[in-house]
């Protein structure tokens, strides 16, 4: 609390233009009820906040709680507002800014379809192995790989597959969790 009491100068010196845009990952624990996603997404569009990625799924079936992981870009001042505005929604239990609160893990899963024959197939398999991509479907002229990891790793795998016959990509969006023993 006392941190707030340090002189901040005053409103006079604070203008939003002086702040840099940052990218943060928020974890939002909500009641899994009809319309909840519309409520969250509607808040972002109504207030002009940017969503980079959004993942949602029920995580506690007994209590019918869903966890939404949302990646946003905004200035630090707006990031605080986003968190407070989310917390104001009736079915929202908790909002954590994982980026601001310390070390966290971020993972994404992608299914990637590559078609081709001959040398390309061999090269494709070598790269898949290097990225620890699993083959989840194979025909004589195609593979479907499952890759998990940081979004950047998936990005590079996709780039490498491009010349080798990349056909289709689907990604889950980000799942994120804090490191250490605490829960959100």
């Amino acid at each position: 609390m006392n941190a707030h009491l340090q002189p901040t100068g005053s409103a006079y010196f604070i203008t939003s233009e002086t702040q840099e845009i940052e990218r943060h990952t928020l974890s939002v624990l909500v009641d899994n009820e009809p319309g909840i996603l519309a409520r969250v997404v509607g808040l972002f569009s109504a207030r002009g906040y940017n969503i980079e990625s959004l993942t949602v799924s029920e995580t506690e079936h007994g209590r019918r709680l869903s966890r939404i992981t949302v990646v946003v870009t905004a200035t630090p001042k707006v990031l605080v507002q986003i968190k407070l505005q989310l917390e104001r929604l009736v079915p929202v239990h908790k909002v954590h800014d994982l980026t601001a609160e310390g070390a966290s893990l971020e993972r994404e899963l992608a299914l990637i379809k590559v078609a081709g024959s001959g040398d390309h197939r061999a090269e494709t398999l070598r790269l898949a192995d290097a990225f620890r991509a699993q083959i989840v479907d194979a025909t004589v002229e195609s593979f479907v790989f499952e890759v998990t990891g940081k979004p950047a790793k998936i990005d590079s795998f996709i780039t490498l597959m491009q010349p080798l016959g990349l056909v289709e990509v689907v990604r889950t969006g980000l799942a994120a969790i804090s490191r250490g023993p605490q829960s959100m």
Binding site: M1, N2, H4, L5, P7, T8, S10, A11, Y12, F13, I14, T15, V30, D31, P34, G35, A38, R39, G42, A46, K77, V80, Q81, L84, Q85, E87, R88, V90, P91, V92, H93
Partner: protein, 589 residues
């Protein structure tokens, strides 16, 4: 104790259990089962409106003047969409409403059925929360939870959309306790952090140029909050100003009262805000009508901000001591902590500040040039105020939106909370007349006056018919300048006096209109006859439409133009307001 009944009966039973005596509504196909259930009881009284927007503003007036939630009942489709303006208005001004909308049967939802609309989709962003009730089992809990959510924390409107088959379905009615309400996530914080309150009082104890900046939150926190505010103001000796929404929380007759602040606030209130060293914001939200240019807003002050909504804090203006909590409780704590530290107001330390304030007050920023030949709008409100003081009745004022609204805020004075009803956040023309109906329903013996503009009043004019039907003797005091005066003023200020569509043309004969509705009409255009005409209005035991023909081109001053800091306020003696705003200011609203 559970009891078997239909969904429609549950609605009425829940309203009864919530102590709701009046609801404002309009029937239609999808709402008929609820209307039928209402017909068979007489605790909940229904006021039949003429347009659903009227119902929402009536409920707002009812709520704001009583501190109780206002309740609305409308049918599906157009009934629901007509309610949207009032819901948004209530959201912006934090007014507790529960609005029941009927819906087509669940089996037809999504089929573009007759009078179907996506009510929860449409109202999601203009309510504090909304529900679509899909099963009758959920209805009792939802009804009661809706009242809890509407009235606690930062109050606001809640919509309950009830399909017709759910109204017919039979289920068990029960009264849930607060623990079995489903949303365990809803936990508004009411008690302020003790350390923060302590820190705030310490700042106040060192202040040399302090000011209380109070808002609608003090009114929402109940009448005790206003008492605590007065106590704290007197303990400290600090000056008090308020937003439009907070008028009445601190008595206007009190020597420490500075008048309203903001775009049309007094010179002394705005300059004191600009020059203060400690600002104590109680239940206000640094709205753009208050701050003007944010980067030049009160540049040298330490700021304390008390608000029940954490997202209001640091949203617009960065503050030094944030306190999340109910204004009433925090004010009571501030009083206690101040007393524990001293038993003296800071009279001596702040004497130079009061002396400076006195020089600003001497400017008499609400002054105007009166006339013998034409009624000045300010004069009309002054005379109305004087006349109502002699009535010995409790007086409630509602307004429409425009110049008349600002003149009412400046020249009518309120010594008690809940007596002033106006659309602040949304600025909804057409609010005042139905709001007055709602206030009069709640206070049948009070004097209820809508201070109106001739343009605004035509937006919800038909509710005069409601007033006549229920014998509600509201007075509609129209300051008729044959202009959308506020629009005309901005066109003078920003658009080279090119008056694009800001004339009120083809006005009705308001006297005949009043008579056609079964009310009384009065017209007055001579300043010498005004007092007698006001007396005639007040003496009449029924609704009156009073057409006061006023000066057409009067500007509402003082004014801080958009994009300007507080110390660049335009005073009444400014002849040409057209040359004041630069290109950048022109783009602001």
């Amino acid at each position: 104790m559970a009891e078997k009944m239909t969904g429609a009966e549950m609605v009425i039973q829940a309203l009864t259990d919530q102590g709701v005596e009046h609801i404002f509504g309009y029937p239609g196909g999808a709402a008929l089962p609820i209307y039928d259930a209402m017909f068979q009881q007489d605790f909940v009284q229904h006021i039949l409106v003429r347009h659903e927007q009227g119902a929402t503003h009536m409920a707002e007036g009812y709520a704001r003047s009583t501190g109780k939630p206002g309740v609305v009942l409308v049918t599906s489709g157009p009934g629901a969409t007509n309610a949207v303006t009032g819901l948004t208005d209530a959201l912006m001004d934090s007014i507790p409403l529960v609005c029941i909308t009927a819906q087509v049967p669940t089996t037809l939802i999504g089929s573009d059925a007759f009078q179907e609309c996506d009510t929860v989709g449409i109202t999601r962003s203009c309510t504090k929360y909304n529900y679509l009730v899909k099963r009758v089992e959920d209805l009792p809990r939802i009804m009661h939870e809706a009242f809890l959510i509407a009235t606690t924390g930062r109050p606001g409107p809640v919509v309950i959309d009830i399909p017709k088959d759910v109204q017919f379905a039979v289920g068990e009615y029960y009264k849930p306790d607060s623990v079995t309400l489903r949303h365990q996530s809803y936990r508004p914080q009411v008690d302020g952090d003790a350390a923060a309150i302590e820190a705030a009082v310490d700042l106040m104890l060192k202040a040399e140029r302090p000011i209380f900046y109070t808002g609608g939150g003090v009114i929402n926190a109940g009448t005790e909050a206003s008492e605590h505010l007065r106590e704290l103001a007197e303990l400290t000796g600090f000056p008090v100003t308020s937003t439009l929404m907070g008028l009445g929380a601190f008595p206007a007759s009190h020597p420490q009262w500075m008048g309203m602040l903001g775009m049309h606030g007094t010179y002394e209130a705005n300059l004191a805000m600009h020059d203060c060293d400690v600002m104590i914001n109680i239940g206000a939200r640094f709205d753009d009508r208050i701050t003007g240019r944010v980067d030049a807003f009160s540049p040298n002050s330490r700021k304390i901000h008390v608000d029940i909504d954490p997202s209001s804090i640091n949203k617009v203006v960065r503050v030094d001591v944030p306190i999340v909590g109910d204004c009433g409780r925090v004010l009571a704590e501030m009083v206690r902590v101040w007393r524990s530290k001293t038993n003296q107001p800071r009279t001596e330390a702040i004497a130079p500040w009061w002396a400076e304030i006195a020089t600003w007050r001497a400017v008499n920023s609400l002054g105007y040039k009166n006339s013998d030949t034409v009624i000045k709008p300010q004069y009309a409100i002054e005379r109305l105020y004087e006349a109502t003081r002699k009535q010995g009745k409790d007086v409630f004022i509602t307004t429409e939106v425009g110049q008349h609204q600002m003149w009412a805020a400046q020249h009518f004075h309120f010594d008690k909370p809940n007596r002033w009803m106006t659309s602040g956040g949304l600025g909804t023309m057409g609010y005042g007349l139905p709001a007055a109906v709602g206030v009069q329903v709640a206070h049948p013996d009070a004097l209820v006056i809508d201070i109106a503009g001739e343009a605004s009043v035509q937006m919800t004019m038909q509710e005069l018919s409601t007033a006549v039907q229920y014998r509600l003797p509201i007075k509609i005091f129209i300051l008729n300048n044959e202009r959308m005066g506020m629009v005309r003023q901005w066109q003078d200020l920003l658009h080279g006096s090119r008056y694009a569509h800001s004339y009120s043309e083809s006005l009705p004969d308001f006297v005949k209109l009043a008579e056609a509705y079964g009310g009384k009409g009065i017209r007055c255009e001579n300043p010498a006859e005004l007092d007698a005409a006001i007396a005639e209005m007040l003496d009449y035991d029924g609704p009156v439409l009073f057409d006061v023909i006023v000066e057409k081109d009067e500007n509402c001053l003082p004014m801080i133009p958009s994009g300007k800091p507080h110390n660049e306020i335009i005073l009444p003696d400014t002849a040409n307001i057209g040359s004041i705003i630069d290109e950048k200011g022109r783009a602001l609203v």
